[in-house]
Symmetry: none
Subunit: 240 residues, 2 copies
């Protein structure tokens, strides 16, 4: 089970063992695990070594300690539902729906002041403007407009957009996405959007704006979307 002569640190081996016992269900959420001294004696290692293994698992949120009582298996951690940073396609799939898309516009335009600012470009610099209706199970879910620097992402085509834009950026161009800042607000559907979203006059929409940046901080894209409130709810899981 644990090999003291192995070059793999003992605390790391023990971590692995406990992690597996939780994975396989041998240890259930709420279960009391053996005490630190018990592990130490059983494995013939120092208590501090056991402590190091357990501390790491506590920091990961798999276990929690209670002074005077013992150490317990934490409730199952929810997957981090960062639907913000995943693509629309992944987002819909994870919700059990079939994603689709209708291209409304795909062109290179000079950046207006707002877009230039968001992408840290000079005004009138060439940017792609991509407008799409996003479908879920064939029904309109959102209206989306993407802006990206045409100099940064060269040679975009309609085919690439239809396939997977993110795949192209990360795999083909080798650009690494670092972080995204997303803001959300509530609004009433505009008359311009209404025919595309097929909602009644005065219907609420969730307005999402996203700025995506590469690992080195370069702005990659600026996206504005309007989601139908009757079909879309944004969920986020926050760990302290």
């Amino acid at each position: 089970m644990i090999d003291k002569r192995s070059p793999v640190p003992i605390y790391y081996q023990l971590e692995h063992v406990i992690r597996q016992q939780i994975d396989t269900g041998e240890l259930q959420p709420g279960d009391l695990i053996p005490s630190e001294r018990e592990y130490a004696e059983q494995l013939d290692v120092s208590r501090m070594t056991v402590r190091q293994a357990i501390t790491n698992l506590v920091n990961e949120g798999l276990l929690y300690r209670q002074k005077g009582r013992g150490t317990f298996v934490a409730e199952q951690k929810l997957e981090q539902n960062l639907s913000g940073l995943t693509s629309f396609t992944e987002d819909m799939r994870s919700r059990g729906m079939v994603p689709g898309s209708t291209l409304l516009a795909f062109q290179i335009v000079p950046a207006d002041k707002k877009v230039a600012d968001r992408l840290s470009l000079a005004e009138h610099a060439p940017v792609y403007e991509i407008k799409r209706i996003r479908l879920a199970d064939e029904v309109p879910m959102a209206l989306e407009t993407v802006y990206m620097s045409a100099n940064l992402i060269k040679g975009l085509s309609e085919a690439i957009i239809t396939a997977s834009l993110y795949h192209h950026i990360e795999e083909e161009l080798g650009l690494e996405i670092g972080r995204a800042v997303q803001s959300m607000e509530s609004a009433i559907v505009s008359e311009a959007e209404r025919p595309h979203l097929l909602v009644p006059k005065g219907a609420p929409v969730l307005l999402i704006e996203r700025h995506t940046f590469l690992k080195d901080g370069t702005p990659l894209e600026y996206v504005k979307s309007s989601y139908r409130a009757d079909r879309y709810k944004f969920t986020i899981d926050i760990n302290r």
Copy 2:
């Protein structure tokens, strides 16, 4: 600087000192901090104790270690704009507004099916119901309803709520908040809410639902809020 007779653990005191030196700029990103042995000798404590302090700061991302070289101050962490998990009070303060609150209702009621489910309680179990108008710069910003198990959080009073509910839970009761799941959607203001929010008929609101859990997985609270769309925008920073 460090008091060995203090009941506050030494490693915790040292953590605080280093954290402050980073805050004040005495230690800049990229700086090499004193070695573990140096700290140990200077403070006349064991190296392991120093290590514990540094390890915690490394886990927080404030420092990073390099074997054979030393320990360095990490690049400035993006502020985690988790406006979801901070309280309304903190959220408003960080936006430069003065938070306020008007208590509409504070009572113990039997949990209905939905609330009981969200809090993992039996139906009709006693829960606090706290309804408030949240103000920012004296103007209504949101309507909020909080549900909490009356058996878990005993002895709540109006005074405690008005002061700081979270402070009471974490400091006085010693409960540790672990994570929160928050969902957001767009909606039209209901006629029941309208008089409190002072918005015209048909105005959009941002509906936020939050479930907060303790470290051990116990549901702590279930909160429903309606934010005025004309005054509130939710921002989130996502790191990959």
